[in-house]
Amino acid sequence: MTLATELGYRLVEEFKADPYRITKYLEELYERVERIEPRVRAFITLRPLDEVVKEVEERIKRGDTEGPLFGLAVAVKDNICTRGIRTTCASRMLENFVPPYDATVIERLRRAGAVIIGKTNMDEFAMGSTTETSAFYPTRNPWNLDRVPGGSSGGSAAALAAGMATLALGSDTGGSIRNPAAFTATYGLKPTYGLVSRFGLVAYASSLDQIGPMARCVEDLAMLLSAISGHDPRDSTSLDAPPRDYLRLLREEWSREPRLRIGIARNLVEGSEEGVRRCVERALDALCSYHDCEDVEIPYPRHAVAAYYIVAMAEASSNLARYDGVRYGIEVGVEGRSWVEVFKEARTRGFGYEVRKRIALGAYVLSAGYRDAYYVKALRFRRLLKERLYGLFRRLDAIATPTMPILPPRLGELVSDPIRMYLSDVCTVIANLVGIPAISVPAGFSDGLPVGLQLMAPALEEVRLLYLAKFLQESLGFRNLVAEVV
């Protein structure tokens, strides 16, 4: 084990004893990046090593080494604003956008002593499940370079799985943290809606978007969540939740060893590919050897996908209306034409095909004559789903499902079949529609390809999810898995 691939919560202890070890750690990490990144392409922007080392050494000289994440290298999804570091959303539209401010999560990371090493690749404006709709290049799965790493936070997940970052931030609108976590054998948590500030997150679908932590073990996930969560007056949907030390709470829960009631979403397990089903069943055997399990059915899963895409596309069409090439987005250098023509030119050149399609569909479902038939119906379904799910939570502490019903597809396989791609989100969209937390835990490998198990709990029960994830981590032994990229 080199310093570069050591877990974050162990590194912080080591750095407390000798802060100058951070330089060696960063050098080792960048050596890996230099060797692996050309094949994986997890990053859109990577900060130079000397700049990153200088930042850390200046903090050490100032004696500013107390932060709980001091010295840890974090990869940040490229839709989270970073002052002075380009933030592209993997889109030509924002190719040269350098934010003049930090997102709240970035301010908090910096305060905690973390070092942002770069911005990671993603589906354009987070619209995709494979990281192939990036306007720049697709990211490859470190476990098998012919396969996708999932999406839309595929760059963050790939950076972790390849040992090119210790921690990572993603955003999750319909599964964009959990899907790539499952496809890369890493851990990913979508927090309760409102637990983590969205201030500085480039909006896709505001009622569904949530920033969350990604890592190679549960402890690191807990540590990162502690740093980024808590109320933010600059996000009006931010909950009045006090900052919590999730690592301490996880350890307390672990020592109490509560036996929990788990619902197994049998219809979602049965609806998955065989390789996924086999791994998930094995993980469930481990979970149910201690906890009390019962089979349940998630109501209307296919309809949840429909409702999710209606809401997401409708909100996207509104959020992305601001990109007109003047206030936001690329300048096309066209003069002497009508405003509509200039606007259309910028939007057509700046947005990729999938983005244009989704905002067009979103505007369609909101347009006169269709709003009630699509958008309002989807919102009614959202309430139905919430009531049914909370009905299950009256007798259950958590619900387990596969994270993804399929194995990581080959590049080009899913993106060419959008309906199949949308339906592959069947297990993950539920948590976003209802606003509850959900976590993806490595559950095994099928033909060398990672499989994830998802756990969902009622709002603000992140500690319960972390506890169950740790239970699986210890039972299955999937901890700090780093792919040897060859």
């Binding site: 040269n96 956008f97 003049p100 401010y101 809606y193 409102g194 009622s207 109320h231 007056p233 600059r234 009006s236 949907t237 931010s238 909950l239 009045d240 209307y300 309809h303 429909a306 409702a307 895409y309 209606i310 069409s317 209306a321 090439g325 003047v326 300048e331 096309v332 250098g333 003069e335 002497g336 009508s338 405003w339 259309k344 939007r347 947005f351 095909y353 244009r356 399609k357 905002i359 067009a360 569909l361 505007a363 369609y364 347009s367 699509y374 309002v376 119906k377 989807a378 919102l379 009614r380 379904f381 959202r382 309430r383 139905l384 919430k386 009531e387 309906i419 949308y422 209802v434 606003g435």
Partner: protein, 98 residues
Amino acid sequence: MERDDIVEYLERLVLVEFQGAERDRVRSEVSKVLELFKTLDEVKDLDSYEPLFYVHDISGPTREDEPGEDIRLSYSDLEMNRRLERGFFKAPRTVVEE
């Protein structure tokens, strides 16, 4: 499909263009996606549920409606991203459509 040319209609709605082979592709995909959306009609008694716009029953505290000092933008911050001239953003010269 209710519209004669769905692609043109969508282009007008959001001011984008689909070009070349994209036009057939988007026509076909939009039709399939709308079919998926229509499956919500199969859910019984959906009209008895109120639309859910915001997922939580509780809402977060709101801040005082007073100007803060959250973001201090310098001229050079703005210059990084936009064409500026004498302190103003420069927009493309456009003509009014008749």
